[in-house]
Amino acid sequence: MSEFSKKENMNQSKSKVEISENSEHTESQKKGDSFVFKGYTGKYLDINLTNREIKVMNLPDDWPKKYIGGIGFGIKTAWDNIPKGVDSLSPENVISFWTGPFAGTLVPVSSKYTAVAKSPLTDSIGFGIASGYFGAELKRAGYDGIVIRGRADKLVYLFIDDDVIQIKDASHLKGKTTWETEDLIKKEQQDESVRVASIGSAGEKLVRYACITNAKNRHVGRNGLGCVMGSKNLKAIALRGTKEVKVADLKILLKEVKQLYKDCRGPKMYYGREGTPIKILVHNKRAVLATKNFRQMTFEGAEKVSGERMMKEKVRKLLACEMCAVACDHVNVIYEGEYKGTVGSVDFESLWALGPLCGVDNLDAITKAVELCDTLGTDTLSTGGVIAWAMECYEKGIFSKQDTDGLDLKFGNHRAMVELVRRIGERDGKFATMLGEGSKRAALQTGKNTIKFAMQIKGLETSAYPFRPMQTGALGHATCITGAFYQRSGSYQYDEKDTFDRFSLDDKRGKPVADGEDDYTLVDSLIICKFSRRIYTDKEKVAELWYWVTGEKLKYADLLERGRRIYTLGKCFNVRHGLTRKDDYLPARAYEEPLNDHINKNAVVKMNEWDIALDSYYKYRGWDMKTSIPTKKTLKELDLNDAADELGV
């Protein structure tokens, strides 16, 4: 964008002063150059929506050395600002958005940001990570992050235009989809280069697993961060950043990234070719394709929803996020049939959750459901998980057609599934409203032991890696501080590679799970895309990138130590909010209903083995085995002294 159009826009916003009546225009006092570490801007915004106070804050000098960035800064912000007893939907909850040092630089697959708050779904620390164009733009606007407190008295959106920050009226955006919101704000600002992260009707109406969407297809999906935005009456954050991002050594970075971009297209990088949906048939063959709410591990319609078929018949284009050489985004366009005109970016997890998990074998319908999740703003995984639970209730006669507001909720009924996705996103009707609370709350409300097959941990609907035939994966899902999710430790990979017996557990599993968590926490703090992890066959390359970007020389092990500190602080946040060992267990189905098919022979998680594995995890972490609370000694070793004083045992 040219200097001309920027000035023009600034004048326009002044002329609309009645809209931004109470907002404060702020100029940075100090230059970002003075920050010790390069890659960071050294500034973040602290915005209180209740009294419309906007402050530009200096990033504490020691944060990069202790908390890296990304979820590290987010967890630290949550720890410092969200005391015990704060309700996740109250104005006292604090949601913060952060980039890492790599966003906006030449490091591949690094335009990422995270949103962190107390989760309305799990009442634990909650965060999600999204790619797209938002992270790098935030950095160029001159900020490492945005901290949002309070609650606006009416629906607003935030417009950050380099040094000019405005809280703007958003009443005209009420009820708009995330895609419409993005387009309308761009039009309003007369600039296509404005980047927008927004919530849809699901976030506005406080669906507990609402997501935050940017660039139409990229979401902070898990843990209901969009719901927290909705609770603050914050419809969107729009950005325009025109500043340079400084690194310690541009010359060497420019030289080194060339090969890394090439490696992103290497033979193992199937994400940008066949795509993750090829896992459908891989899982089906291995009998780990969780079908019909995890009751069977093969799906009779697997061929119909295979990644191979999707690629051949539905995928129209592969897209990339900013600064990404992988290009994993498989965009389906449906040109004919009853779902004609549908556009949806479909990955393995979404395909699975709205497909096999609900018994649906129709690719067009799945694409439609993904499109509805994306536009109305719900997490595809939780949406699929909740619907699968409701379908099982319907099959068992717990819900009648009257209870479901007229939907024939049989497994495999793709029309009912798609309609229910829409109703959840719009909170349309009593039944969909209940499902918007998430499977744990809906099951507790329904009673009749339906909690036993609500496939969630801590309230978060689980991902595509089933517990009983992938037990190291199960342990990682359970110790995960944000609820049942595979992306916090990657421990399912041990089951994929058969490193351990995947049908049993023992005291050897704690270490690999904890190490995986530290590693992934580092990745989520830097933040780089997990799809790029395979290009760093030598992990020290990451430490070198850190050196070239920030100017601090270190070893990968030093970064891992920081990852461990961050994860432990996240655990401390959970302890403060009442979560203990009892919350690190699987849903009853995993312990009580053995799986039997041509591969799974009486596959079940044995409770005594589970306790042994969990013990080994706490022991390795240096946490108390009875309560799971980190010990004073562990916390002091990690330089988390305030946490040690508040909680340590």
Binding site: L106, E244, L254, K258, C324, A327, V331, V333
Partner: protein
């Protein structure tokens, strides 16, 4: 000497903006895609294109410059901007039909692609770094060939299907 331009295969282009980042880093020594001389365009949901100077004959940007800051090399057709003469009036940007000239942010000087003639060993860096090989630096006649061959292939497939 046959005139080469930077062309983009829209089927391959993913909209990653790496060309923009690299252009600014190589030519301006800064990481800021807004200082790039190549520009990515995305039209939702699936169209992507990167565009830089097409090296027109009788370029309108040159005609528009009141300061005589824009020059075109007779042989290579390269457009260059004299940074001392350019006063950032922006008429060249207005006149370019492809929207491939832009205004610098720190200094108000028009930016236009010179195919990295003084940097990156004289090879266009965007082409060098493009991860999906969507960009190429070729004489326009090569593009004609390529397009014609692609059309022949499509025709052939149609005939094969019929048989």
């Amino acid at each position: 000497m046959e005139q080469k331009i930077i062309v983009c295969d829209t089927e391959k282009c993913t909209g990653c903006r790496i060309c923009e980042y690299i252009c600014a880093a190589v030519n301006e020594g800064k990481i800021n895609p807004r200082l790039s001389r190549i520009r990515t365009i995305r039209i939702d949901p699936i169209f992507n294109l990167s565009m830089s100077c097409r090296k027109c004959d009788n370029p309108k940007c040159l005609d528009a410059c009141a300061r005589n800051a824009i020059k075109q090399d007779e042989k290579t057709k390269l457009i260059t901007v004299d940074k001392d003469k350019c006063d950032g009036c922006g008429y060249c940007i207005e006149q370019c039909q492809f929207g491939v000239l832009s205004m610098g942010i720190d200094k108000k000087v028009a930016l236009v692609c010179d195919t990295c003639k003084e940097n990156n060993d004289g090879k266009p860096a965007c082409v060098d770094y493009c991860p999906v090989e969507a960009l190429s630096f070729v004489p326009i006649s090569k593009i004609e060939d390529k397009k014609a061959k692609k059309f022949h292939k499509t025709l052939q497939e149609g005939i094969d299907k019929k048989e």
